[in-house]
């Protein structure tokens, strides 16, 4: 990794707790407002007052309350959680590898998940929804695992370019097999709908799975946060400070797999949130991962709730795939980083 050490010591070693606290508070309030807005918007327009009563004074006899409770609330909550998961995973990946291009979307997560889903659709057609989520979960882990392994084994280590190219290669490999399966068993469109589907059609069952993951994953993330801060300064520095880098990396990887796996399982592949948000967060709050992780979670949640709202507003009544919207936001940002040859801010 070719961080410009001068730059990183003079500019990057600042932490701004006040800014971080403001982001957390304001971010959460804005998130709630956006969530309410998102609930009120849709084919059946519901005003904000009804949203309030629908959430807090639920009356099962009203259709609007039914819509709010059964369709729109789980969707918004899922969007917020998935956004937070992806952003936190990205932040941890970037911190651990000191690689500004590290993020779930370019690391074979999509391909891995789609690969397993293809197998499930083709060979176990009756698989339940929960079953599919587990498959997708395993697949996401497989993708990230492969990319990381290849990246680490390659000469010169995990440079941004190597990591990105390893992602491309693993994606191509897994995708070719899963597309062949999909075509042979005629399930191609089902699979694409699965991973381009976003958070539409989320049910409470899925939220029930997401919440424990959120609690475990985010707590673990916060626990390793101080170590990741040290790790992000470089392996040598971390070892010099007496840190067991291997342990930290293992816990970090577990958190990443847990969070991305769950996110992909619920929402399919939503690219670039895990890339963009950590950078913006670091830019705003400095280098301390104890602040970066919660702030990234809030900002990631906010971005995905907004993107999901956008997906429904662009071309109603049709939904634009939310992954395409995050790509529209994320690609220019990726290109900006690419122009700097992956040297970060």
């Amino acid at each position: 990794m070719v961080w410009n050490e001068q730059e990183s010591t003079s500019e990057k070693l600042t932490s701004r707790p006040v800014m971080a606290t403001i982001i957390l508070f304001v971010g959460l309030i804005v998130l709630l407002l956006t969530g309410a807005l998102s609930i009120s918007f849709g084919a059946a327009d519901i005003n904000l007052k009804t949203v309030w009563t629908g959430v807090f004074e639920f009356d099962p006899n009203l259709t609007s309350h039914q819509i709010i409770q059964e369709l729109r609330m789980p969707r918004v909550i899922a969007a917020a959680l998935v956004g937070a998961f992806l952003a936190v995973s990205g932040a941890i990946m970037q911190g651990m590898t000191r690689n500004p291009l590290a993020s779930p979307s370019i690391m074979g997560v999509t391909a891995g998940s789609a690969f397993m889903i293809a197998i499930a659709f083709a060979f176990f057609p009756g698989t339940s929804y929960i079953g599919l989520m587990i498959w997708s979960f395993v697949g996401a882990g497989l993708g990230v695992g492969l990319v990381f392994t290849i990246g680490s084994f390659s000469k010169g280590g995990l440079t941004p370019v190597k990591l990105a190219l390893a992602g491309v290669a693993v994606t191509a490999l897994l995708q070719s097999v899963s597309t062949a399966i999909a075509i042979h068993f005629n399930v191609a469109q089902d699979i694409t709908f699965w991973y381009a589907g976003g958070v539409a059609g989320t049910r409470w069952v899925m939220i029930q799975i997401l919440i424990p993951v959120a609690i475990i994953g985010l707590i673990l993330a916060l626990l390793v946060a101080p170590s990741i801060t040290v790790l992000s300064l470089g392996d040598d520095m971390a070892k010099g400070l007496g840190q067991r880098t291997a342990h930290v990396k293992i816990v970090g990887t577990i958190v990443v797999l847990l969070l991305t796996g769950a996110a992909v399982a619920v929402a399919g592949t939503i690219g670039f949130i895990g890339l963009v948000i950590p950078h913006i967060t670091r830019f705003l709050v400095g280098v301390d991962y104890r602040w970066i992780i919660p702030c990234a979670a809030v900002l990631g949640a906010l971005l995905l709730v907004l993107a999901d709202l956008g997906a429904r507003m662009i071309n109603p009544p049709f939904e634009t795939p939310v992954g395409a919207i995050t790509a529209m936001i994320g690609v220019p940002f990726f290109l900006y980083l690419a122009r700097r040859e992956g040297k970060g801010f």
């Binding site: 370019v161 490999l173 597309t179 042979h184 709908f193």
Partner: protein
């Protein structure tokens, strides 16, 4: 002197062996398929005395697609060789750089808006497809080149920007694909995966002029490629207008890739693997590297097509998937080995 003579002879032998391999595979491929035709019958049919059924299978189905496999294989191989030469990066490939995705998106948009369907392609639109693919490919290449430009273009930036552009076009493709009906969706998926199963002689005629013009042109530019490969500073020192040559060659590469994608869909990794294997066999002088790359590319695609047709018969695996499944591990191997 003796050494040089020897290398020339070796290179000649390598080419001859490749050529023989192609002939053998070609013949094998004619036999194999959903309907098996015995070798003797193949020869009889080729010389005009076979049954009408065999004639139909060979002349209307197998021969055109095999000829296309040869043409596209050679074209993509050369396209990759040029990209690797001008970017001085052994990991460049039209598929990885997003040129295929650009061409693919243009063709899907064309089909979506002007045809309404993937299945009923008229003669005119078959000839129009390469043009659209070319426009898409050139557009992608232009985007990549401009966005990677920062007082010059470095190989790392070129590849990273390419990956970004690839993602952007991929997102565009998903938007259009999900609006298609299931039948078109399937067709589009197969086509985007790289397929030559709908091939007939019209497709051959479509792609042939591009190959016949652009490959000799690349050969003519072989010495420029040699010089560019030495690095920008050296090339400038030797009096080569680096950026101008690079642009011309890049355009040639995109032209070849665009024409091939239009007919064969998104075949990735062939443009990466073929030049690498060729370099191992005949060295890195483009005068011999280019023809060897073309032969290897043609051979690989022919083999991949044969595998794709027969592995899960009667259903076909798009040839691009076979190439990816074989090419990606090789790419990973290179990635681990190259520093």
């Amino acid at each position: 002197m003796e050494m040089i003579k020897n290398t020339y002879r070796n290179q000649f032998i390598v080419m001859a062996i490749l050529f023989i391999f192609i002939l053998i595979t070609f013949f094998l491929s004619l036999n194999l398929g959903h309907i098996k035709i015995a070798p003797l019958e193949v020869i009889q049919t080729l010389f005009g005395s076979g049954t009408s059924e065999n004639k139909l299978v060979l002349f209307d189905f197998r021969l055109p697609r095999m000829v296309i496999a040869l043409l596209i294989g050679a074209g993509l191989g050369i396209s990759g060789a040029i990209l690797q030469g001008v970017s001085q990066n052994g990991l460049a490939d039209p598929g990885i750089l997003g040129i295929n995705a650009g061409a693919g998106l243009a063709v899907v948009i064309f089909i979506f808006f002007f045809q309404g369907s993937m299945t009923s392609l008229g003669t005119l639109s078959i000839f129009m497809m390469p043009i659209f693919a070319l426009i898409g490919g050139v557009f992608a290449a232009f985007l990549i080149y401009t966005l990677a430009w920062k007082g010059g273009v470095t190989p790392t930036r070129l590849i990273l920007v390419g990956i970004g552009i690839n993602a952007a076009f991929g997102a565009g493709l998903i938007i259009f694909q999900l609006k298609m009906n299931p039948n078109d969706f399937m067709q589009a998926t197969v086509w985007l995966s790289g397929s030559i199963w709908g091939a007939n002689w019209k497709f051959v005629l479509t792609v042939l002029p591009w190959i016949l013009i652009l490959i000799p042109f690349t050969m003519y530019k072989a010495s420029s490629l040699n010089v560019l490969n030495l690095g920008d500073e050296m090339a400038t020192g030797l009096g080569v207008a680096v950026e101008k040559e690079r642009r011309i060659l890049l355009l040639t590469s995109v032209g070849l890739a665009g024409a091939c994608v239009a007919v064969g869909g998104g075949i990735s990794f062939l443009g990466l693997v073929a030049p690498h294997l060729a370099r191992r066999l005949v060295g890195s002088k483009h005068q011999v590297l280019l023809p060897a790359t073309a032969l290897i590319g043609a051979l690989l695609l022919l083999v991949a097509d044969m595998i794709g047709r027969n592995l899960l018969a009667p259903s076909e695996i798009p040839v691009g998937l076979v190439v990816s499944a074989l090419g990606a591990p090789y790419f990973i191997y290179l990635l681990i080995k190259v520093n």
